[in-house]
């Protein structure tokens, strides 16, 4: 079920105690940096606003220095504990992380606890040496992209973005539907072939005609050797026909039962589900 290229896609497999297996995609620097910058802006803004508000409030009772002291305490707390507190009480997210759809989790997929959240943010200082060079080097040396603070606390940052829903693609070409009817009923499409077909048909709309032929021929040639079809059959159409027969052949009225999902697919220029 899980594709073989997990390492390439930064994919981490999780098995929960209830024996549910699923995977996460680990967040890399290009997602974590914007989240960090957003948080940095918020931190600076909060520090400045709290300083101004406190000074003005205490100046009203003729104690401006107390206000400035309070502002400095606020600055200290925000600088060192902003991330830790947000991640504890916001379920592993800071405002920046929520904006970028990423979340901090334990490496075993469990939610983090307060100690982990605070510690990984205190240890941010050393990751930050040399404009985060230390963190970047350490993170690029392990497959969960953990910086030093993450390694020490056993945490990782995963992407939790809602994915586009890919349903079944509707085959519109009448030629493909006709071809599907010619495929013998006894021909069994096994799981691996079905996966390959779906992978191709979902993307074929993005390819130019010669490219489609080039890709489809690798599969259509061995298939044509096994099927009683003329050897001149169009490779692209053959794969589309097989796809149609495997996933949607029962509905030959041309009206896809899957209309809603098809319009949601990004390839059909739909709205986000």
């Amino acid at each position: 079920m899980a594709p073989q290229n997990g390492q390439l896609d930064n994919r981490i497999d999780i098995v929960t105690p209830e024996n549910i297996a699923f995977h996460y995609q680990v967040a890399g620097p290009f997602r974590r940096l914007p989240a960090y910058l957003v948080d940095l802006m918020i931190r600076i803004g909060l520090s400045v606003v709290s300083m101004i508000v406190l000074v003005i409030c205490f100046a009203a009772v003729h104690l401006p220095d107390v206000g400035a002291g309070g502002g400095m305490i606020c600055y200290f707390v925000i600088a060192w504990f902003y991330g830790g507190l947000f991640e504890t009480f916001w379920n592993g997210q800071t405002p920046g992380k929520r904006l970028m759809d990423i979340r901090v989790l334990s490496v075993d997929g469990q939610p983090i606890n307060g100690v982990q959240a605070v510690m990984r943010n205190l240890l941010r200082v050393i990751d930050g040496y040399g404009f985060y060079l230390v963190g970047l080097i350490v993170a690029s040396m392990n497959n969960r992209f953990q910086r030093l603070g993450d390694l020490a606390c056993g945490t990782m940052v995963v992407i939790e973005e809602p994915k586009w829903f890919h349903g079944v693609v509707r085959i519109t070409e009448p030629a493909a539907i006709q071809l599907a009817a010619q495929i013998p009923a006894g021909f069994v499409v096994d799981r691996r072939l079905a996966r390959g077909l779906a992978g191709y048909v979902q993307r074929r709309g993005n390819f130019a005609w010669p490219r489609r032929l080039e890709i489809a021929r690798h599969l259509s040639e061995p298939l044509l050797a096994r099927l009683p079809l003329p050897p001149t059959t169009d490779p692209d159409l053959l794969l589309a026909a097989l796809y149609h027969r495997t996933f949607i052949a029962d509905h030959e009225d041309g009206q896809s039962p899957w209309g809603d999902a098809v319009t949601q697919s990004p390839f059909m220029a739909g709205a986000k589900p």
Binding site: W80, Q116, G167
Partner: protein
Amino acid sequence: MKVSELLETRWTNWRELDRLCTVLQGRWGKAVRAEMVTRMAALYRGACADLALADAYQLPPGTIDYLHRLVGKAHNQLYRSRKFAYASWLEELLVTVPQRLFNDNYLRLAFCIFWGMFLLTAGLAYHQPGFAERVWSKEMLMHLDESFAQPLEQHGISGEMIGFYIGHNGGIGLECFAAGLLLGVGGLYITATNAVQLGAFFGFMARSTHRENFFHFVTAHGPLELTAIVLSAAAGMRLGFSLIDTKGMTRSASLRAAVDQTLPVAIAAMLMFFLAAMIEAFLSPSPAPYPVKVLVATVSAGALAFYFVILGYPRRE
């Protein structure tokens, strides 16, 4: 059953689960209605079952990817981050931490390094004029010396200073702690640098004509503040050396065990910094008679001794 029919029946459920997750995410601490929770649990179980059977159902790869994300998202809404265990904090701070620190070689090491370097450089700066100028720049020393030229009555008590002291000293302590993770060397470096700078300054001031004002200022908060630096350095070293001496565990497991043990120590150090900053801002600059300040220093040193020795003395079960 054809895949398209199956998807048709499931799709509404998945989309409802996705929507419920978004609602739960943005609830800002408001209570959730019970029927929503039970509905979500049922939908989550359904989605998990669909994902587990995705291969048997021959779902397209894109749908499987979608399901992985959906189940992950729902999992993170069902199982939420555990907050701090406040109830156990007092016991941790007053029983576990001193017991652990009593036998802590890192604390002894940090103590020896900090005080050794401090006394050494203080002695050098006192006996060799010109030594302090090698540690600090001449202008900096002149400026610091100037600031003690006035008797303390002129300074007055400033609310601004407490914030400055907490932020500045707490920051040094936390950095000392975090830098320990660099195999302990970073912590050693920051501890030694601070000890040398402080020692040179103390030695320099002891020769200065303003030394009475200076000692008037530093006596009261000295014990707490210097102990807090030693404590955070020791906690940092424990982190760093856990990577070298793993006691038979893997390096990452050893580091993780050290993290759980050192955060309470770092928090104890933060509390000491906080107390020290209170004294530094309110008592130290005040014109209170010197014996009062000595008394405060003695009491805080006694309290520290009580914490480390009496509370920390190994108990027989």
